[in-house]
Amino acid sequence: MATVSLTVNGKVMSAEASADTLLVNFIRENLGMTGTHVGCDTSQCGACVVMVNGDSVKSCTMLAVQAEGTEVTTVEGLASNGDLHPMQQAFHDNHALQCGYCTPGMLISSIDLVTKNPNATEAEIRHGLEGNLCRCTGYHNIVKAVQAGAAEMKG
């Protein structure tokens, strides 16, 4: 067991974790934040994506101890003072979620994608999100939402 301390959504947090605890389980079980989801055991669904030091990361591919001292953003940290992040708003406006299970990872991946490529084309968005599975939406509205969110984020 080791104590892992990190900043999650702006708050310093720490908890005990064994050496083999995955970051996603640490967030869900040790920190009790269940917004981040688990959809697979081979790092291929993207339901678990969080931001670590400004990069989107599949949190099932990282050990909790590797996240020591990092800045993590999860879906719970996107809205500020009750205002949705522009990407959250765009997902709502464009009906880019149905069951909502993929949504946390999809949002974080989308924000990372358009932060790094504000003028992403439809093809680039589709390629950029190919690590995130959604079984419900057929991606059509997600792509629309990411375009709308990108425009809004550019201001």
């Binding site: 959809g39 719970e76 709502h92 069951c99 909502g100 190919e130 079984r135 419900c136 057929g138 991606y139």
Partner: protein, 786 residues
């Protein structure tokens, strides 16, 4: 009508989005109970074997282990029941082997659970399971249906030749006679590939037992909480309904696969009672692959008899339907009740014969997956029609038009039991032709040819039967349950409303669409309406959500209950305004006395019902709450036309969908945003079946496609954006005129895609294309043709 339009037809943004966008959804795995333990299932790694011995002694003493159970520990516990019974052609009942919660004496598929370990942590449970010693005597695996029905190795001793049932509908002799005299016969061999539903949320179940009230609670990721309570309570664990609560909170997609009662649900509930502690099980994805029911897996030979000018005269088919190793809840119904009955499609084919042979194999159970039987039937039919048109040199659109059931022929009785109440197939066809710019296709094809690409266009005109009802028809065709829906509408004293519905939302947006219904009917704002679902202690009863039934059946039950609310409210309003009840008019949330300026708001009436100072207590009870059960008169029949345009690189076999157009008739639309979303998602899964997805077992019954690395899920860069439109014709027998939309995508899309590929490759002499049409498959077909 309240501020802003929030009633029927309004593009209201979803009320449920807020919690999902901010990480506050409450999925089953997000629930933890005090003093909870964790279950891990030890599953068979082989497809077929006798269990000689299971030694759990080392596991029992491992750190953190609370209990280890095998089948022998579960005396008195029943098997997982099947909800549908069919007969052989001679009237004998289908073979229905016991499906034990934990394997009894034999394992029958990879993933069949042998033992369960319950420990303080998930990690300890899993580690201890590795200490269980299993002595298995391998048996040959029965995998391929063609071999299975020849006998030899049996999956179940009682099922001769591994046949569960051999069932038929239609008059074979009549049909054969027409075939003998027909100008032309088109035949086709079809494999409807086995698919794995793969909702992104894996299944989760938590059993809990309260010793004081002697009551069990099961939290489970299900589409049908009351059905699970009924099946598990009555058949498996013998717990009466009033001592068993089933809660299905937010559920992360289902697509059919979370409709059924699964062994793990019964196991955690039973163990919780035994141990007096909550027991939680969360499937790992690799477990989902070998324990969630799969879909499709039909092998069919079909023929269409035509006149030389392309009129359909008769159709006959023989389908082998894989049941897997055990019968899942609706397993036997898929190929029969939902498949054979749909073989008329949108056409006037006068005679149809369908013979279904259901086969046991050493594979995971097969049951409903989005569309359930109807995609299989539509695929057969639309591939046949496409091929017939090519053989007779008739245009694809013309052959369909020539055989359409015309709009004035409704109600239309098909030769396979269904009576279609309404439809306008020409309208959706015309809309799709326009959306797809079919007129410009030849120009696009020549342009593609200049770039070395082969371009093709494929059509599918389909109808589906949805709603999974009425009870009497379902009963006649083997259902062991009714297929109605129920609703309870509770109007609170200040006029806000809670609706308790037996439908269950796992992505369909009921909290919004149902609130829109209430808003439309009684004029309250949707923000004053709460939709409660997914808890058997809250909701009176329900049959759950599948077969696109929520709005047509569940929504109609809500309307029926609202009608009772309005009736009672009118009586209250009449009393207070001192008018005759027959003079009360209700419009936009206001009760008026006809011909006067007297009126009362809905909220005022609600308050009067709960504060009955001036109230007709001699004839009316206080309070404003009504329940209704709705059993529809018929299925509903959504229909439409999907057109797919592909471009194929003949050097690599890569297929790109360049245009996809869907024009659907889902009946009256409550919320167009939600309807379009359902079409998008369904089309993606339909394309998935056509191009990407295929579950593969090897000859030993090992699942080769058991992870997301091996089973190709449609990803964002595999799919196009879609052109979607709706052309609504009213359903004539439910109060809303709604039909349904959840499954039109998987039904309409798949044949359109494959027909487009065949069209693109037809100039090379390719006439067939197996699914999934991966680059390798397409490339091979090109090589073989040239």
């Amino acid at each position: 009508m309240p501020d802003g339009n929030t009633g029927i037809g309004a593009a209201v943004k979803r009320k449920e989005d807020g919690r999902f966008l901010t990480g506050k959804g409450r999925f089953t795995d997000d629930i933890n109970r005090p003093n909870q333990t964790f279950a891990y299932f030890l599953r068979s790694s082989v497809a077929h074997a006798n269990i000689k011995n299971v030694d759990t002694s080392a596991a029992l003493t491992a750190e953190g282990v609370v209990a280890v159970y095998t089948n022998g520990d579960m005396e008195g516990v029943g098997g997982v029941p099947c909800g549908w019974g069919l007969t052989f052609q001679n009237g004998d009942p289908m073979v229905e082997p016991v499906h034990p919660i934990l394997a009894a004496g034999k394992v029958r598929h990879v993933g069949d659970p042998i033992a369960v370990v319950i420990a303080e942590t998930k990690k300890q449970a899993k580690a201890a399971a590795a200490l269980i010693k299993i002595d298995l005597e391998d048996l040959p695996a029965v995998v391929n249906m063609t071999n299975a029905v020849e006998g030899g190795t049996l999956v179940h001793e009682e099922a001769a030749n591994n046949i569960c049932y051999d069932w038929a509908i239609g008059d074979k002799d009549e049909v054969d006679k027409v075939f003998d005299g027909a100008d032309h016969v088109t035949s086709i061999e079809i494999i409807n590939n086995r698919l794995i539903p793969n909702a992104i949320e894996p299944r989760v179940a938590i059993g809990d037992y309260d010793a004081v009230s002697q009551k069990y609670t099961l939290y489970t990721s299900t589409q049908s909480p009351h059905v699970i309570r009924l099946l598990m309570g009555a058949f498996v664990l013998q717990i009466p309904e009033h001592k068993l609560r089933v809660v299905a909170p937010d559920v992360g997609g289902g697509f059919g696969s979370k409709t059924f009662h699964y062994a793990e649900e019964a196991m955690v509930t039973w163990a919780a009672g035994h141990l007096g502690r909550p027991v939680k099980w969360t499937a790992e994805r690799s477990e989902s692959f070998v324990s969630d029911a799969h879909g499709r897996d039909h092998v069919t030979t079909a023929e269409l008899a035509l006149s030389k000018d392309g009129k359909f005269l008769a159709l006959r088919e023989k389908t082998y339907a894989n049941m897997g190793a055990y019968l899942s809840t609706f397993g036997p119904a898929i190929a029969t009740y939902l498949h054979s009955t749909l073989l008329a499609g949108v056409y006037t084919t006068p005679l149809i014969y369908s013979n279904i042979i259901a086969v046991f194999t050493n594979t995971v159970a097969v049951d409903a997956y989005r569309g359930a039987g109807r995609p299989e039937a539509t695929y057969i039919l639309e591939r046949l029609v496409d091929r017939a048109a090519r053989e007779l040199g008739i245009d694809q659109v013309e052959i369909r038009r020539k055989n359409f059931i015309p709009p004035d022929a409704f109600p239309y009785q098909t030769p396979v039991a269904l009576e279609y109440d309404s439809g306008d197939y020409e309208a959706t066809l015309a809309s799709a032709l326009e959306g797809a710019d079919v007129d410009g296709f030849e120009a696009r094809k020549s342009k593609a040819a200049k770039n070395g690409k082969l371009r093709g266009v494929g059509y599918s005109t389909y109808v589906e039967a949805c709603g999974a009802a009425p009870s009497a028809v379902a009963g006649a065709l083997g259902a062991r349950a009714g297929l109605y829906e129920s609703a309870n509408v509770r109007v609170h004293p200040t006029g806000s409303v809670t609706v308790f519905t037996g439908s269950h939302s796992h992505g369909q947006g009921h909290e919004t669409a149902f609130a829109q219904l209430v808003s439309e009917q009684i004029g309250v704002d949707i923000d004053s309406v709460e939709i409660a679902h997914g808890d058997t202690d809250q909701v009176q009863f329900g049959m759950g959500t599948y077969a696109s039934r929520s709005l047509a059946v569940g929504g109609s039950a809500i309307v029926k209950a609202l009608d009772k609310i309005i009736d009672k409210s009118k009586k209250i309003a009449a009393h207070i305004m001192e008018a005759a009840e027959s003079d009360i008019e209700f419009e936009d949330g206001t009760f008026k006395v006809a011909g006067t300026d007297k009126s009362m708001g809905f909220g005022e009436v609600a308050l009067a019902a709960y504060v009955p100072h001036n109230y007709p207590l001699d004839v009316l009870e206080p309070g404003l709450e009504e329940s209704a059960f709705y059993d529809p008169a018929n299925f509903t029949y959504p229909a439409g036309c999907h057109i797919c345009e592909v471009e194929i690189d003949p050097t690599t076999g890569v297929v790109e969908i360049v245009n996809f157009t869907a024009a659907d008739d889902p009946g009256i639309v409550i919320n167009p945003i939600i309807v379009e979303g359902q079409i998008h998602g369904g089309v993606a899964q339909g394309i998935g079946q056509a191009l990407l997805e295929g579950c593969v077992y090897d000859d030993n019954g090992q699942l080769i496609t058991g992870t997301y690395m091996d089973y190709t899920m449609p990803r964002a860069d595999d799919l196009p954006s879609y052109v979607v439109s709706t052309e609504s014709s009213r359903c004539t027998h439910n109060p809303l005129g709604v039909k349904g939309v959840g499954e039109v995508g998987t039904i309409g899309a798949t044949p359109a895609v494959i027909n487009a590929i065949v069209d693109a490759l037809s100039e090379l002499g390719v006439t067939d294309m197996p699914m999934p049409a991966t680059p390798q498959t397409v490339w091979r077909a090109i090589q073989e043709a040239s």
